[in-house]
Symmetry: C2
Subunit: 186 residues, 2 copies
């Protein structure tokens, strides 16, 4: 039982808050590409530049980490939409402005894929409840920001879902017509 190698020399220590940040960012990527189950804490740790056990000093469990990732992703989407809706004149205009930010959100790619993975993992009741609340918050805020009707909200959300899926499948052309022809008619 040889004990540990004595850690070559001074490695700079970061605050726990800092590390949590790194882990969250790494986890977003891993969860987005592999899903809740397939993503391993070892891979997340590697990407974050820390050891695998240390994740459990920063988050109580893999599920908690996943839900924290989901919260952050929802928050990021919301802030993007809030910004986009600034100065809109009417509901359609607000939704249109939000819709144009979708490609930007997709540019991040991982944000939307994380959403999809959260839905897929919703077989677990605890996850479903959490993700359901996030989805409700999203829907509520979009309505509040835009003042749209339930039907318009549904159509907007639906477009987002299609964007998710066509992105992950690498078939964006199927989604494009939505944002082109919906409001932007010359």
């Amino acid at each position: 039982m040889a004990l540990m190698t004595p850690a070559p020399s001074t490695l700079p220590r970061r605050s726990a808050e800092d590390r949590r940040e790194q882990v969250l960012e790494a986890a977003i990527h891993e969860f987005a590409e592999l899903g809740y189950q397939a993503a391993s804490t070892a891979a997340i740790a590697r990407r974050a530049g820390i050891s695998q056990p240390y994740i459990y000093a920063l988050f109580p469990s893999k599920q908690d980490l996943f839900l924290a990732v989901h919260d952050r992703v929802v928050e990021r989407i919301l802030s993007t939409f809030r910004e986009a809706a600034q100065g809109a004149t009417d509901p359609q205009d607000a939704l249109h402005r939000m819709g144009t930010t979708y490609p930007e959100l997709i540019g991040d790619r991982f944000v939307l894929l994380c959403q999809l993975q959260a839905y897929a993992a919703a077989g677990d009741p605890e996850i479903r409840e959490h993700v359901g609340r996030g989805f409700g918050r999203l829907a509520g805020e979009i309505r509040a920001l835009s003042g749209c009707t339930p039907a318009e909200l549904a159509a907007f959300l639906a477009g987002g879902m299609l964007a998710n899926v066509t992105t992950i499948l690498g078939m964006p052309e199927l989604c494009d017509p939505l944002w082109e022809e919906k409001h932007g008619r010359a």
Copy 2:
């Protein structure tokens, strides 16, 4: 090393084709609720009433089983749509008829959830390619059956996606306005 218990008595044997059928049906349920990674071959076998190793006599690998499930699900959706589109008068009418079958597909529940799980598992390139082909076939057939425009197709697919997600989250009320107010205006 006690050898096996001598198998109480005569259990009726089924044809391999029969068994494959049972396994596929069981796998649809397991994959739908848990996803590709989290669903275990042991649980599938238990549900199908066979031993876990026998699955590998019927399907070469878990991934092959998953893709076979996906094919079957796509085929089921297509046949539902084909039936619904019979006797439609124009593209809008055809899409409307197909849309009304969505709740029926959701009644099955597992069919649509399997689709969602397939998208979520598309991080794996082999799965993505297969699922992408299925999605393309779906989109192509819908266009052929209805004669709709690309924008109408996109809106229709988007609605399906939203139906998937609101179903799994148990929030169907967010999706209802789509099918109610879209075409059925009195």
